[in-house]
Amino acid sequence: MKTAIRQSGDVAVVDLSGKITIGEGDVILRDRVHALLEEGKKRILLNLEKVSYMDSAGIGELVACYKRAREKGGTVKLLRPSGKVQDLLQLTKLEEVFETFDSENEALASF
């Protein structure tokens, strides 16, 4: 998995591409989100448009990031999950946990 981080106002947008899976994507996701929280960047938008799928380890890490941000007084929201990722969020009932957006502007305005 690859990531790129953009700052948009006070929101850090993380563009992810590839797969969030055990031993690779999950570790990268954790590292990126932890680093942002360490820097005091508490408003995080994960752009999942180019994530093809996640496994249970990747989903677990997504939840762990959400909780860690909350502990630090921050928020993690999701942008444009692709078909498979959307299926997985629905299946695991995490779509009820994460605020999810189709429009980046709406997502940015929601923080």
């Binding site: 899976t21 249970s56 989903i59």
Partner: protein
Amino acid sequence: MAARTAVKLVLPSDVRLVELAHAVAEKMGEAAGLDSGAALDLGLAVREAVINAIVHGNRKDPSQDVELTFTRGSRGIRIRVLDRGSGFDPDSLPDPTAPENVLRNSGRGLLLMRAFADEVRFRYREGRGMEITLVKSLGSPRRGIEAAEGRSEGVVRRT
């Protein structure tokens, strides 16, 4: 599904090999006639079974192997994943979608297997390890979420 056409893949318990097991499952699924979406689903189900075999079954001990057996039939493909651990009871696990569990970091592997395979069976092979059987049928309706919710296919047969 004649056993003589079975393909076998034996892996040491190293999570870096999960990728390989997933890729082989996807290729075998396509070779058996699954469309690419169904083959990906099979790959994802196998991925979860292999992660569990490595992490829970063999406790990441690389000297303990995980054995995958791929059997192609005219109506689909069957994959067995066998570890060297002491097994578990799949019916005694908490529901990861219950409100009190939805924010847990783990516990979703079986949910995914059941969603992405058409049939999931669990069997403890005495003196050998836990065996998970995953079946994906040709031309079966896509049963993502429905299948996971009606959980009846998770039959336990401890022999």
